[in-house]
Amino acid sequence: MLRNLLALRQIGQRTISTASRRHFKNKVPEKQKLFQEDDEIPLYLKGGVADALLYRATMILTVGGKAFGMFEGTAYAIYELAVASFPKKQE
């Protein structure tokens, strides 16, 4: 209840659109309605399909990146060990 009252207070303070550019309409009230909908969708996915795509991409890149990094790091470590194990003889 308190949260809704506070949200209403913010809407009341919204500046009336004086935009001279045609394409800048005040879409804040619609966004407020969208993000205050009482569904169980978490905030980071509540914006729509783009949210889900971005989330999945970020997760895949970070976790996958970690796996890749560990692999790359381990591969290089073993390579360096191999090089170190066979020292070049000075002629």
Binding site: T15, L61, G69
Partner: protein, 260 residues
Amino acid sequence: MTHQSHAYHMVKPSPWPLTGALSALLMTSGLAMWFHFHSMTLLMLGLLTNTLTMYQWWRDVTRESTYQGHHTPPVQKGLRYGMILFITSEVFFFAGFFWAFYHSSLAPTPQLGGHWPPTGITPLNPLEVPLLNTSVLLASGVSITWAHHSLMENNRNQMIQALLITILLGLYFTLLQASEYFESPFTISDGIYGSTFFMATGFHGLHVIIGSTFLTICFIRQLMFHFTSKHHFGFEAAAWYWHFVDVVWLFLYISIYWWG
């Protein structure tokens, strides 16, 4: 629907701290791979995932505040404290570089010739581009104040203009400094002079870029009607950060460019 009986913001669970931490791991190990094994893949991946995390994390903060109304006065107070503490930590960060500079320049060793600037170094003329840079940043401090007052007085178009001027001045500074770096007769590996000069001015330049980015985000948000005349903490935080960047430059100019 459950409701809270207090004015504080109990943040919902989010995946961005995890992806942020993972991206930090990728960036740091990426740096090691780049330095020692000449591979930039991991570093690039780290930078990309870091950017993705920051974008989504702060997008969610905007959703929580502008769209869901969670930033009540007590919450805003906490955010103000947070920003002030963060800027204070950055002050200490720069203090380290200034310490290093003064340590070496107040008592120049015999190896440097016993004087500062050291033998062989031709310092930049402080009355040329560096002075222009100073005026550019000072002017940007004026324009951002103009933007703030316009915002508080509900003057939308003037706010947009003033903020745009501020951002352009920031960009101008960055371009000028980049050209200075390119034309400089000395490099970072030119002894302690080069090291202290480029570490201090380099990190400052990075902060100008960060500040300009923050201001640009505020510009976009202003275009999208996010700010009201009474509630616009994101903009205030950006303005504080920008003033901080300006002040650091003034110290740099006086210490390194002029006195040094």
